[in-house]
């Protein structure tokens, strides 16, 4: 699988002056993916910021997928599923909704704003809705700026004597009791 994030217009350069938001989209194959297809064949123009991952059902979207996207540099995640009552597998979109409502709160606790994680019901006939949602999300993310959750945990900022001596000298308490 190609690295979705590496294909970004920003090319991983977080210091780029214009922050072009990178969005990973998880689209249900029965509805939103077809809607995006329809948008394409209808020549509807919308922002090119979404890299789409096609899934069989929005109920297949493990919260781990969303976290993996953010952890690897996505600025936003968009989930597209079938309207309530229209799920090809009866229940999948409801399961997606339940998880998304809870995941939203976990993301907030992680410092990831509401606007960065979006769940939309878009049927196969709603090509124009794809444009609306994506353009709106891109505009909001542009305002928020890059997320920059990607990090190299292994790089500690500790332990070398040079670094320690370069750190601001703290005040050590009067008495150190052992």
């Amino acid at each position: 699988m190609p690295d979705l994030v590496a294909l970004s217009p920003r090319n991983g350069d977080a210091s780029a002056a214009i922050a072009e938001p990178r969005i990973v989209g998880f689209f249900c194959t029965w509805c939103t993916y077809l809607a995006a297809d329809l948008a394409g064949t209808s020549r509807i123009k919308y922002a090119p910021n979404v890299r789409v991952v096609r899934v069989m059902c929005s109920g297949r979207i493990d919260p781990q997928f969303v976290l993996a996207a953010f952890a690897n540099g996505a600025d936003g995640v968009l989930i597209g599923g079938c309207h309530p009552g229209d799920c090809h597998y009866q229940e999948g979109n409801y399961n997606c909704l339940r998880r998304a409502r809870l995941l939203r709160r976990v993301l907030l606790a992680m410092g990831i704003e509401d606007e960065r994680f979006r769940l939309e019901w878009i049927s196969a006939a709603e090509g124009d809705r794809v444009r609306e949602v994506i353009d709106d999300m891109v505009a909001k993310l542009r305002k928020l700026g890059p997320l920059q959750m990607k990090r190299d945990v292994a790089v500690g900022r500790i332990a070398t004597p040079e670094l320690e001596s370069s750190l601001p000298t703290g005040v050590v308490a009067e008495e150190v009791t052992v």
Binding site: Q64, A68, L103, G156, E164, G170, V172
Partner: protein, 322 residues
């Protein structure tokens, strides 16, 4: 006489419970001592860091290190023991996945120091003195380890061979792991030395788990009289069993309390919190967004609940900017 293999125990950012877990082996510890020499164990034996520094590379068969890595000293000791040990074993939740200390990754270093050394109601520190690395006071040369920006699990700092899960690991798991090591019947590197399946599979209440659990109301243990026989999830309690590794035989459930997830996730799961979240949210008995939110409101701190032991090892590692 053949020389006995050497083993070592060390602690980093931990509460001391894992040391207790070794003592909990009770007379089992005698079998360990009979089979191996303990060459380093600061909580119980008087060997110092310089004793370890003098040892040859990889001369210790196995070092069991508990606790997460927060300070420069802990990182140095982890690196030292890595160098001196053939096998380095992450012992207990903190070392394995960051554990309770890993929850500090929801807060910045500065806010933690401020809270602990200045704001806490029991702290008297009028000059707002904070610990620093290069201190010193008059003629005395004082230094403290650097308190780093975030908490890391052991494998985020050094290469780890095996993991022993649990908060703390149960004697049964420890005994099995130690005898595996001493017998040389080693599993694949990187293995967690406990069964690779969900706790529900060995839960004493598994037969009472309905095929389809439907929750209208989450409840906390203090708000109800808990049925001592029925599946805790079916009673609306947040039990992490479905997303937690087996091996402990569910002592918490046997004590009528829900599993909190200390043994980490089974092997195929990358992020325990996300998986637990998915498992629990799917049980909600509603299709209406407003009602779902109302039901979920009974979980006051979802991030802290689902990542109770695994925040540092999770995909996001902690709050943004930490």
């Amino acid at each position: 006489m053949r020389e006995k293999p050497k083993i070592a125990f060390y602690w980093c950012a931990s509460c001391g419970g894992c040391e207790e877990a070794v003592v909990d082996l009770a007379e089992g510890i005698l079998d360990v001592v009979a089979a191996a020499d303990i060459v380093f164990w600061p909580v119980a034996l008087d060997f110092k860091r310089h004793d370890v520094e003098r040892m040859a590379q990889a001369s210790i068969l196995a070092s069991f290190l508990n606790g997460a890595i927060r300070t420069s000293e802990q990182e140095e000791m982890a690196r030292l023991l890595r160098e001196k040990s053939k096998y380095l074993i992450a012992f207990g939740s903190c070392s394995h996945t960051g554990g309770i200390p890993g929850l500090a990754n929801f807060f910045t270093r500065q806010s933690i120091l401020q809270q602990v050394y200045v704001n806490a109601p029991t702290t008297e520190n009028p000059n707002h003195v904070l610990p620093g690395v290069n201190g010193g006071n008059g003629n005395r040369d004082l230094s403290l380890p650097y308190f780093s920006e975030h908490v890391r699990s052991l494998d985020q700092v050094v290469d780890v061979d095996y993991y022993i899960p649990g908060c703390p690991p149960l004697p049964k798991i420890v005994t099995a792991a130690v005898s595996t090591l001493l017998n040389g019947q080693l599993p694949e590197k990187g293995s967690v030395l406990a069964p690779d399946q969900a706790l529900c599979t060995e839960c004493p209440r598994k037969d009472t788990k309905p095929d389809k659990i439907a929750i209208k109301q989450f409840r906390r243990p203090q708000e109800m009289v808990i049925d001592e026989a029925q599946c805790l999830l079916a009673q609306g309690l947040l039990c992490m069993g479905p997303a937690t590794r087996a091996g402990c035989e569910a002592p918490c459930v046997q004590g009528n309390m829900p599993c909190t997830g200390c043994c980490g996730a089974p092997g195929r799961v990358r992020d325990q919190g996300a998986k637990a979240l998915a498992a629990i949210a799917s049980l909600i008995d509603s299709q209406d967004e407003t009602e779902i939110d109302r039901i979920l409101a009974a979980i006051p701190d979802p991030a802290g609940t689902f990542y109770r032991y695994s925040l540092a090892a999770s995909m996001l590692h902690g709050k943004r900017g930490i």
